[in-house]
Amino acid sequence: MKKPGEFIREEVRNTPPSGIRKYFDMLSGLSDVISLGVGEPDFVTPWQIRESAIYSLEKGRTHYTSNTGLLELRQAVCNMLRKKYNLDYNPLNQIIITVGASEAIDIAIRSIAGPGDEVIIPEPCFVAYKGCVNFAGATAVPLQLKEENRFKLTVEQLKECVTKKTKALILAYPNNPTGAIMTKEELRPIADYLSTKDIVVISDEIYADLTYGTKHFSFAELENMHDKVIYVNGFSKSYSMTGWRLGYVCAHKDIVAEMLKIHQYAIMCAPSFVQYAAIDALEQCEADVERMRKQYDARRRYIYNGLIEIGIDCFLPEGAFYVFPNIKKTGLTSERFCDRLLMEHKVLAVPGTAFSSAGEGYFRATYASSLENIKEALKRMERFVNTL
């Protein structure tokens, strides 16, 4: 007879849990810890959006919405995408409102790749991609991004990873954990190469609103790839709405129709009152997004400068809200560095290895934290670095 755990599929069993779970245990028993380990804004959702959700509950908007999401919300998203990123998606058949960008990533991968297929994942990257590829029964092909390229993807690297089995590439700029971005000029050669291949690009642009020098350019805007891009975005980061679980996915209508089946059968629809609030977020809260972006920008400069001053090498991030310092010269592994930083100096940062082996020699710290916290964390890090 099988033991309960043995009923679990191999793909699931063989996928390790997130590498940072052990910090939960290490944290209990410690007090006065400053956490720069979080991947979400420190701001609460703007009041206007919260108020709007309360109102929609008051009005009894508590039923299922259409599977693809409220038409009004789909229209609002498509209008915003057109205005901000020059992307043309039809609200009637080219968008699905999802439970976070997380669901969007999952249904995109499951629609495209299965057993025998390969999905190229540039690393270090957000932890969920590889898991989703594994669960779909497909094979994740890692591509190691390099600091000397400022963690940008190059065509040469991409070409080395493409095989006959390649079904999709996951592109995620602005990037978690590196803070890297890619410009139009840098994306174009990737598009030119892929346009000659039968490869879909899943473009996770959830940090699109959070860039600090140049305005974000969407990969989906490149004409020759538009129909082969699955565009993923959401409300979590721009609007500080992580706990609301709302995102969306846009693509060619024939792709959307297929993804919709998975969404339909697995999810039904995203929460209705959350969708109502999201309409107001899009239509009335642009100023809030900009206010928060400017705060992140000031903190970004502060933490970057602070790290350089205490002798930690770091590349200046241009998007998202993370720094990804290089600690190779300390001689410590990422994990050892972060363990000691936490146990000895009570600052929590995430070892680069949590974002794949390509992250060895780095750690991720978020600057979505108050300036006060950042200042204190830098002081503690300085003390730590001085003991090394």
Binding site: I20, Y23, S35, D42, V44, V127, K294, L371
Partner: protein, 158 residues
Amino acid sequence: MDILELLKQDARLTPKELAVMTGKSVEEVEKVIKQYERDKVIAGYSAVINWEKARDNIVVAFIEIKVTPERDYGFEEIAKRIYSYEQVKTCYLMSGAFDIAAVVEGSDLKEVALFVAQKLSAIQGVTATSTHFVLKKYKENDLIFEEEEKDRREAIVL
């Protein structure tokens, strides 16, 4: 954020910190601030204090004042006579049902009421006043006076 926005948020930031956060040089920041101070764009620096917490004998009132504008000077001279009193902490020219709003502070109700009756009402050109005592301050200068909500985020996710 620019220098003004940053200082509004925290006036204690040093020129060096401001320089880092705006991408300017320290000299440039110092020069710009000097100029703002000279032009009275930056009118001053002060802490936002919740006096209710610091002491128990403080009374704040919001006074609506109606005035007849003076020939040649309009409201300016009357406003000056009002805001020159040390008890008047804030003073605005208003549109609408009254003309001037003044925030007055004192150590008890009687003191404030007497000040309004004997000083403000007596100013030439002031035709009527209406005093509203402040019972509680919730927010001032962008700052919410209640206990700060703590960071509710999980220390680490995923």
